[in-house]
Each structure stands twice: as structure tokens, then as C-alpha cells.
Point group: C2
Chain length 109, copies 2
DNA sequence: CTATTAGTTCTACATTGTAGAACTATGTCC
DNA sequence: GGACATAGTTCTACAATGTAGAACTAATAG
């Protein structure tokens, strides 16, 4: 299959990974999304989505060393692959094209 | 439930309805999406999504009179409700906020 | 060695995405 | 009016994504 389109939540997770690089892992991703959007996000949702994006090779993962803080165990850290960046671009592009010239009609100029 | 977030395909269908008003119906919506994006779309997918968006009161439907053309039977015509416009704005906004300042990092300046 | 904390995985289910076949209504032409 | 072509919609069935919450694991502090 060629580069897929991302689901809406996959899109947010992928963008969070891009923002947080090179420190994107489950907890920081959840924090980033809830901080920047009004959307409420559980950790379960984030982790499930990370696994799926990794399966599709849109993200690559590696395990970090423990942090030294109390409870600071090793993190599973994600980065975007080239295919991942392409998937973001394609998905966003489709929306952009459908929105083109529609701003006024929708009332949020 | 307050205004929901749209799935990625729901978003494209809702935007097509906005573009095509007041002539948005199954077939024209499919045409619009395939014309403006590289995404392939079956009619089954479009109709299923229209029903779901109508159930959620994001779209309102009415039946038109037959067109007079050969085979031109009555169409089920859709328009966006206020809640529908809000859902588009909310969904797009979440992505916009997550993308903010990220353009260069993703390589599609 | 017990408590506390950061982090991840598992389980289960709801919603959304998708394709293709079946069906229905309209007009044309003889 | 009845065969037929055509525009349009609905149905059926399943795959992928979204979601919540509980369970689990690994680390440090005391």
C-alpha cells in the first residue's frame, strides 16, 4: 500500500511526535495534545495509536535509558519516518484543498 | 454530548457539503472529493458517512424534486447545520494548533 | 523490603471507514 | 405499456481507528 491517510487522532499523535522530537513518548505526547487542544486524551488511546503507527512504519521507536528520577523508568521514544512525514502532508493537503476558498462560508475568518 | 470532533473522512464529506451548497448530494459529493483530492472514494462510503453525520445533527437533509433528466430521480440534499460548522472549525483548529510552527520541520514549506 | 512514582501494556468495546451488491425511481423509445 | 438505460440511494458485511480503564513493570527513596 502507498502512503496511507491518517485518522484524525493519528494525525494529532503524529504531529505531537514531530513537535516533541527527540523526546516524544507516551506521557509527553498526551501532555502536548491536551495542552495545545481542548481535546481530552487518555494514555490508553495514545499508546494504542503509537503501536499502530509504528506497525505501519510511520513512526520508529527506541528505548531510552532510565532517567534517574524517582520512578523514572526507561521510555519508549518515537520519531517520524519519512513515510510518516509524507502521510501527515498528504492528509493535511486533502483537507486544505477541500477548505480552499471556504473560510468565509464557514464563518471563522 | 457537546460538539464532537470529526473523523478524517467525515471532515472531507462535511467540507464537500459546504462547498456544494445548495446542491450537495451523494453523487456530487463523491465527485467533488475525487476531483479535489487524490483520494479514491466509493459511493457506499459517502452515503454511510452522510447518514452518520445526519444522525449527529451536523447535517440536515431534504429530498429534491426529480430533475427531468433520464434517470434523474429525486436527490437527498444535505446542508450543514450550525453544529456542523462548529464541528468543522473545532476539528480543524485542533490540527492547526498542533501544526503551528511546524511547517519547516515537516519539509513542505 | 515496602512504598511511591513514571511509564507502559493489556483487555474490551464503540465508532468510523470501506467496498460492492442490491435496490428504486425516472425518463426514452418503440 | 413494457424493455431498457440511467441517476441515485440503501443495504450488508467487515476492517480499521478511537477510547477508557485496569493491570502491570521498573525505577528510586527511605
Amino acid at each position: 500500500m502507498s502512503t496511507p491517510y491518517l485518522g484524525d487522532f493519528e494525525m494529532l499523535v503524529a504531529l505531537a511526535v514531530a513537535r516533541l522530537a527527540p523526546d516524544a513518548y507516551g506521557v509527553s505526547i498526551q501532555r502536548e495534545i491536551t495542552a495545545r487542544t481542548p481535546r481530552s486524551v487518555t494514555l490508553g488511546a495514545v499508546y494504542a495509536t503509537l503501536v499502530r503507527l509504528e506497525d505501519k512504519r510511520l513512526l520508529a521507536a527506541s528505548d531510552s535509558a532510565p532517567t534517574g528520577e524517582r520512578g523514572g523508568r526507561s521510555r519508549r521514544v518515537y520519531t517520524l519516518t519519512a513515510a510518516g512525514k509524507k502521510a501527515i502532508a498528504r492528509s493535511h493537503d486533502a483537507v486544505r484543498r477541500m477548505m480552499d476558498g471556504l473560510e468565509t462560508a464557514l464563518g471563522h475568518a
